[in-house]
Symmetry: C2
Subunit: 204 residues, 2 copies
DNA sequence: ACCTGAACACCGTTCAAGT
DNA sequence: ACCTGAACACCGTTCAAGT
């Protein structure tokens, strides 16, 4: 067995998360899946928090690297789509990224690119960060919900009655959930992002 | 010592979170703070997840109960402000609410009120849920960040260098962080919510 | 430089038995 | 109905000692 290094630990962590989910990820179980004593992991990674932060950074690699061909509002829309794709590319990706409160390069690069795109789309400089923030939280919120519903459906843990909101007391939510089930996620997301970006960049 | 009931467990959990934070909350430590064996808690509450869900529900009590005097976009803005106030009223309130993936009455009532307000503000019925969703995630994201910065500042764990984003590589983020430090949180939030709501409810 | 063994100080949850 | 004792099956992290 090849000697372990930090990259191998991260790769192993992804395999583990893909197979068993973020909640099951444990330093001890990860170590054993890598064929190594669990104490060993601490040679390569500071602690569990740092490992998950590293997963988030890994997931966001390249997301901000967008060509100069897209301009204005389209660039912000594009960034939002790239972020969602990256989050969806791994199980629990959205939760992994949302949980990290860090200032790591790829995370910062995304923020920087989003603010830049907002400015390019005509948002006044002092509001650009707010616009970028709004888009980012929409993507994270949307995708967290999306991924957790995937899991619930996969696990069969959501038979209908958990989902069945009392339509008498909450008619609007019931209707919204119905729409959510009918319309493809992709279309919902596109529509939502477009509407948010357009409205944020609307100059009066 | 009075006999324990579910309400006392929840009250004790709030006291504990207020004193030590959500991350320190443990069934065992909570039990001992209540002067009771930790097995006892499971008589009053199903498990730890259910306890935290109950905290979230508790926090959201009454947030949706808004008088009929506010109409249209103002009602949605009001709801957003009420949500933020509720989240801020308890330590780690935003994280507690964001972590719950549940369909409990107060949570649903807030969603219902927000969708209703969006419709009242002129958002077409089929987009109202999206608008409500966007506002809700803005408030949660904003307040999570706000509260975690409180803690970092309180703990003195953020001396300047962790916060000091490389201004050369990320000039826009650096500038945004600077603004964030200068402008009062309240004003930022109000401004942000107003802008989002106004743009979402803007009819072309 | 990298890994093991062993320990420390914890967890959440269950459940017979008590009152 | 409510609580204790005791157990089960885990955790993350550290660190001397090995190679």
């Amino acid at each position: 067995m090849a000697r372990l290094d930090r990259a191998a630990v991260i790769a192993g962590a992804w395999d583990f998360v893909e197979a068993s989910g973020l909640d099951a990820l444990t330093m001890r179980k990860l170590a054993s899946s890598l064929g190594v004593h669990h104490g060993t992991l601490y040679w390569h990674v500071e602690n569990k928090r740092a490992l998950i932060d590293a997963l988030a950074e890994d997931l966001l690699a390249g997301v901000a690297d967008i060509g100069p061909k897209e301009q204005g509002a389209d660039r912000l829309i594009s960034l939002a789509g790239r972020l969602r794709s990256a989050l969806l590319s791994r199980r629990d990706g959205a939760r992994i990224v949302a949980g990290t409160f860090v200032r790591q390069p790829n995370t910062l690069a995304f923020g920087e690119a989003a603010i830049d795109a907002a400015r390019d789309a005509g948002v006044p400089a002092e509001d650009a960060a707010l616009a970028a923030f709004t888009v980012q939280y929409f993507v994270l919120g949307f995708t967290i919900e999306e991924q957790s519903q995937h899991q619930l459906l996969d696990s069969g843990d959501w038979p209908t009655d958990t989902n069945a909101v009392d339509a008498g007391r909450f008619p609007l939510i019931s209707a919204a959930l119905d729409t959510l089930r009918r319309v493809p996620r992709e279309a919902q997301f596109d529509y939502g992002v477009r509407r948010i970006v357009r409205s944020l960049t609307f100059t009066e």
